[in-house]
Every structure is written in C-alpha cells, then in structure tokens.
Symmetry: C2
Subunit: 342 residues, 2 copies
DNA sequence: CAAGGGATTTATAACGTTTCAATACCCGCA
DNA sequence: TGCGGGTATTGAAACGTTATAAATCCCTTG
C-alpha cells in the first residue's frame, strides 16, 4: 500500500473522499462504485465486497448535497415547532424521541417555527414548494387541519400528532385524551367529589373535543355536576387562568374536583386553591396529566396520569420513516392509552 | 406577456423555476441571472432590476442542494441537543429563540442528539467530516470543552452557551451565574438566614464553578455557614436529590436558606421542606433561578431570578451568523446579567 | 480610422451523485 | 470460426448552481 504517488490526482489525502476516490482506489469506474455501494444485484458479488472494503477503509460517506441534487430526495425531516410559550418538557421530550428514532437512518431533523397566530400553512407551503424535506411532523392538530389537507393533496409524507376528522386516512399518533378525561373523572368521583371543573385547550384542536367528550360523558354517567371553565384556554396566560379559577372558587358552589390537562394548569389550580383558603385533599382534589417526573416533587402530592412524550416522538418519527418508504397510510396509526392514574 | 409558446422547453409551467427559467424569461444568460440575483455590481443596474422582477414574478427560489454542492456552504446550523431528561422549558425556549433569529436568513436549524454519557465529540466530528453544517451551537459547556478545542482547531464557526477557560478567544453567550449565586445569598442573608445550602450541576461544567464561587464567596463575606450538598448533582434523579435534602434537614443544624439553580430543584426543595415538617418562609427560605413563568403559580411563592432563555437562543444564533459572516471571535461574547431577585 | 479599454455579458467547467444506454466480456452452441 | 445472449462494467449526461476566463459591445482617444 504505502503512499500512492502514482495517483497524482488533485484529490489528495486529507480531502474528503468521493466516489472518484473509491473508484481510483479499486480500479472500477465511478458508476460501478455507486451501484456497488447501493447494493445493486447487477454488480458482481466480488466487486461489491471489494468496493465496500475500500469505501470503509477510505472513510467514504456520500455527499448529501450531490445526492440531493441528483435524486431530489433531501434526507431531511421537518418538525413544525409551535413557538408559543410552553413550560414543561413537551418539545424536549418529543424532539429527543424523534432524534432517537432517526439515529443511524441518515435523516436529519430540521426545526421550523410554526407561529400560532400566523398562517399555519405558510411554513408547509415553503417546504413543499422549495423541496426542503422528504417528510413532515407536527403537533396541535385541528379537526380539519388545513396542513393535513394540503399535504394529502400534495401526497407528501407526514405524520400528525393528533387525529383529524377527515375521512381520507392519514398517518397519526395520538394519546387517548378521552380515556384520560374519563379516568380522571372516575378517579375524582371515587374520592367522593361531585362538582368537577376542567380548563380546555383551544376549541380548534381535535384533542380538545376528545377531552370534552370524555369529561362530560363520564360526569353525566356518574350523575354529578361539572363545568368547563369559560373564557380561558390552556394557552391563555397563566394569570388569566388563575383569575378564572379563583373567581369560580369564590362562587356559591365552588368545584371540589379538578381535571388538569397539563402540569402548568395543575400548578395554577393548586395556587388557586391555596389563595382561596382551600386545602387540597380536603376541600378539593386534582387529577392531572403528567409528561415529566416533576409531579413526584410537588407537595401536596396530586394524582397524575402519565403521557410518554418521548415514546410519542419515537413513534411519529418511526411511522414517518415507514410512510416515506412507501407504506400506505391506512395502517399507520397509533393511539397511546393512559396508564391507570396513581 | 401571454403564453410563451415559443419556449417549447421541457421546463413547463408548474415545474419549480430554476435559473434557466428566469434566464429564458428575461433573455439573459444563466450566468448573468445568477450574478444579477447575487447583486454583483458588474451587472448593469437595468439588468439587475429586470432579472429581479422576473425572478419574483416566477417565484424563483434558489435550489439549496445545487448551491450547497457548488459552494460547499450548507446553509445549515446544527444545534447539539442534550437528550437527558429535562423538565422545564430550556430546550423549547432556546430553540424558539434560535429559530426567531434565523427567520428570513435562509439558514435551517438541524437538531443533533448529544448523548451525555457518550463521546461528546462524535457528533461534532461527524458534522465536520461530512460537512453537514456551516456553524454549530451547543450548551452545557465545560471548562476545557473538547468540542470547543476541536472546533477552534478546525476553524469552524460556533457559539457555545457557556464560557470555557481556554486562553484563545471564542464566541460565547452566558448567564452570569456567579452574580446570580451571590445575589441569591445576599437575598437570603437579608432575610436573616445563616445556614445556606446549594445543589450544584456536574463538576465538569464551567457554570458550576461560577455558581460555586459566587455562593461561597458571598456566604463567606456575610460570615455565615454554607454547604454544598454532597453526592448529588442537578442531573441526579430527583428522587436522589430529594433524599439528600431530606437527610440534611434531619441533621442537628438543618439549613435555613436554599439557593436553587433550577425550577426542578426548587420544587424538590419545597417538597423536602414539607416532608420534614418545615414551613417555607418560617423555617427556611428559597431563592431560585427561573426560566419560565411557572413560579408565578407556585404556592408558597418563592423568590426567583429570571434567566431569559429565549433571548439567549436569539443571541447565540445571531452571534453565530456574525461569526459565519467572518467577524473575528474577539468581540463575540455576551454575558446576561440577572435581574434583581423578586 | 484603428486601436485601446472599460463596461457588460456569456460560454463553459466544475461540484458529487445517480441512471440511461451502450459497451466489453465470456460462454456455449451452431 | 462466428454468433447469439446473458453477465458485468462503463461512459456520459444530468440535477441547478457559481466562478473562471473569455467574448462582445460601445465609446473614447491618438
């Protein structure tokens, strides 16, 4: 081996090896090397082995730009990130799950801001038109989400976190929020609570309807009173939520049970209880959805139901890979079920 | 203009316009169009205007892959994301800030996992060797961070969140954790507290040393007792931190003041107080660093110092842009100062 | 009027990959 | 010997862009 003085090419050692480097090292043509590395069966077994060895030895890695230019495939997956304030680890957990599922696949994740007030289609259009990704992931899905409609029309691979109400099937991953709400209500009823309260996310999101249905139907089934806090959503400033909750507590018949969809609401609720002189566990109870271990460290302890967001991230990414590989959308659905409350 | 029947090219309407499309529409050569759009002063003013108009009308957007292949510049910025569990909005806030600063620049952010137990250099090496990005951002910087060393050697643009102790200057953005710790101590002393406690992040991080120094020197200056909780770090499972704190409280002279570096620790500390029958505000006080508005909704209310992570994200991204544009590293530093505690 | 020269524009060659169409090779068989 | 026919390999073109070097034009000047 030694130093290949005869190679006298501009491509010297230290440069990034290309197909040409490998071709020269093996004596085959560039086209052959390309095919061999792609595992093309028309290339002889022995050749494939020789090329593979040389590629590995030289540390050859295909150039993304060249491949992308040639094939039109970007090897990129875009995640639409909502840029509203968010307090607990939603983004971190989902993103960790996604990168976990994508490790070793050659796919890169790019993060694209999805400003909630703005046109939610704009970033999607940009990605489609300028061919910036091979697939897309997003959250906070709406019943007739325009992004879903557009992507289905364009036949562009995506997985939504959250279901829609379109009749055409598309890949989605969701948490069974109806079951969560139902279980939360039942848990509170079991504790003897009979006037329940719930703060919902914005009306437009599908999971809001699931939560509402689970909450309302379970409360009715138990024959107890319930109210959905008016005038605020989960995305309202916490100050406003706190005010609404406090005001409700000062009414003639304050709630004695709270279903909280997020950790923040749970904290706000705890604070509202404290501020109105009520004692958790005595005057009222809370059951909350929990996506992080933080509630292990809250006093008073409150009942929680765990939603595994890292698994969610892994799943949406894995499903997108399958969709991009050509699987039909029909089978690509996954509904996570709440563990029993604890 | 009407329909250009004479154009009879394979590039029909509906296809993504390229330089060739614009060239044909204007009658100039591809090279001229490229130059005109790049604002090359050697192209006549009138030509530049005509080309710009046509490009806009046709909706021309340069192809990233082609540009990348030709120039070697990727138009990508990589963010090294630590995949440990994290509970409050660090990732979300920093990432939102980054995308905010990058909006409209044409740069995309890709997220690369930075597994804490693993070789922290591996993802950096991959990015360098395979030319996957033009610049890099990362957090949890160490005193002699090997990533910083490698990137400086390679002369690759980056901004670290956190300072190092290298003598060669490099761009960084940091929060003045020493000032935070000092202020927290002073605040506790002002409340009459005289036995302070602190849980530190892992020894390897630079900001750990800043915290330690601020804490220790302020406590000494005030002539009070202090302890750094042994055996656990901020990254320890919360259960272990809780145990260590609870145990300390059961000793002969339990702490009466806590400096908490994160929101989670603050919650754990509150829980430890509650579990040992101590009352916040009576038996002990807490001053905590706060990166989200969540503490407005914690009862008991605790003193906090705000670290604006979204601004941090904006700043590291903005600084990286300047570095990539060729600015020398010397001036590219920014130290965020804590607001007065409240 | 020819030559010089500044101002514009352009043809062309890359960047590294994949793929189409064509070539070279080898074997068996007429 | 020559030829069909599979097998294995290859040359060349193309993806869309930028940069180098050369060409064109037009105007000034000796």
């Amino acid at each position: 081996m030694g130093n290949d003085l005869d190679a006298g090419t501009p491509t010297d050692m230290g440069e990034r090896p290309t197909l040409r480097t490998v071709a020269q090292a093996t004596g085959f043509a560039v086209a052959t090397v390309s095919r061999a590395l792609a595992g093309d069966p028309r290339i002889a077994e022995a050749t494939r082995a020789k090329v593979a060895e040389a590629a590995k030895r030289l540390g050859y890695v295909p150039d993304r730009a060249a491949r992308r230019l040639r094939t039109g495939r970007t090897q990129v997956i875009s995640l639409l990130l909502n840029t509203e304030h968010e307090f607990l680890g939603f983004t971190h957990e989902v993103l960790s799950g996604i990168t976990e599922a994508l490790a070793g696949t050659g796919y890169a994740v790019t993060v694209v801001p999805d400003s909630p007030g703005e046109d939610r289609l704009a970033p999607v259009r940009t990605i489609l038109r300028n061919n910036l990704a091979d697939g897309m992931l997003f959250t906070r899905t709406e019943a007739f989400d325009p992004r879903v409609r557009l992507l289905m029309e364009a036949d562009f691979p995506f997985v939504s976190h959250g279901r829609t109400e379109f009749t055409t099937p598309h890949p989605w991953v969701d948490f069974d929020n109806e079951a969560f709400a139902r279980a939360a209500v039942e848990r509170l009823v079991a504790k003897g609570r009979s006037r329940l309260s719930l703060v919902l996310p914005g009306e437009q999101f599908t999971f809001t309807q699931h939560l509402r249905y689970g909450f309302v139907s379970a409360a009715r089934a138990a024959g107890i009173e319930y109210e959905i806090v008016a005038g605020v959503t989960l995305d309202s400033p916490t100050r406003e939520i706190a005010e609404a909750l406090t005001q409700a507590r000062r009414g003639p018949t304050p709630p004695d049970g709270y279903v909280c969809v997020g950790e923040v609401t749970a904290m706000v609720t705890l604070a509202a209880l404290a501020d109105t002189g009520a004692v958790h566990g005595v005057d009222a109870d809370i059951v909350a959805k929990r996506a992080s271990p933080i509630f292990d460290n809250i006093r008073p302890r409150i009942d929680t139901v765990f939603e595994d967001l890292r698994a969610t991230g892994r799943t949406i990414a894995g499903m997108l890979l399958r969709r991009m590989a050509g699987e039909p959308p029909e089978g690509l659905n996954m509904l996570f079920h709440p563990d029993p409350p604890r």
